[in-house]
């Protein structure tokens, strides 16, 4: 997996590959469609696609006589991982805050100020 991430980083260091991935993120495309839009030759597009494919950021499939390229779900898995962890953490904190809120209301008269976070005093 480490190798996969490293390969991904190298694959992304090029402006044309950046453009290709942007286009593929919108919809799957054939090499010819990519080459029509980009200011590079069709063999050059194929070369870039090979690099992206080796890094597993795009995948390809055959559709009739054409080969269609699309963003590889595995590449996107990295982003999903990032946001999944973020929300896991955020929702756990939300649950605690919501339920603590309720206890404070039911269990006490007044003193609602004490619930306030002291984040400001940090550092």
């Amino acid at each position: 997996m480490q190798t996969y991430v490293q390969a991904g980083l190298e694959a992304l260091g090029d402006a044309t590959r950046f453009a290709i991935l942007q286009m593929l993120a919108r919809r799957p495309l054939a090499v010819s469609e990519l080459a029509e839009t980009l200011p590079v030759s069709r063999p050059a597009v194929s070369q870039h696609l090979r690099v992206l494919k080796d890094a597993r950021l795009v995948s390809d499939r055959k559709a009739g006589t054409k080969r269609i390229y699309e963003v590889n779900p595995e590449g996107i898995a990295l982003l999903r991982e990032h946001f999944d962890k973020l929300w896991e953490q955020a929702l756990t904190a939300f649950k605690m805050a919501a339920e603590k809120n309720k206890e404070a209301e039911h269990g006490r008269t007044g003193g609602s100020k004490s619930r306030r976070r002291r984040k400001n005093t940090k550092r």
């Binding site: 980083l9 993120a25 919108r26 963003v71 996107i76 999944d84 919501a98």
Partner: protein, 161 residues
Amino acid sequence: MAEPVAARVGVVEKTLSVNVPIVRAFAVFTQNMGAWWPATHHIAKQAFTEITVEPRAGGRWFERAADGGECEWGRVLAWEPPHRVVFSWHLQPDWKFDPDPEKASEVEIRFFADGAEKTRLELEHRRLERHGASWEQLRAGVDSPGGWTAILEQFAKAVAS
């Protein structure tokens, strides 16, 4: 396979049950976000003191720092208290704001009353592939020790485990 693969897979879904009535769950989530949002996740240089969701469709979603400075997070796309709220998420994975709607993902949170004292939340963060294009930018120019590289290292650890 009619739908593009990228659109189908760029989704994170979460469900959660909280022991509070639906009205309170919605209120804490949207109107008291600064009290629970993990303090480590923010975009300003300083920690935020509050996170504001303007309670209407088209409203702003932003954090405010101690010095009063505001940093946008996104927009309120749908506002249906206490059942549903949808945000656009303009924060790239390195916590930089990007105003381009093409690069913004969407977060939808749905609230369901489970009796009078319980609420079930369903969260869907979708169109994550729109942040994919920012990988290259980060790699090409604005990489920093605390930014993308660090996040990728975390990714690498996470996917390896």
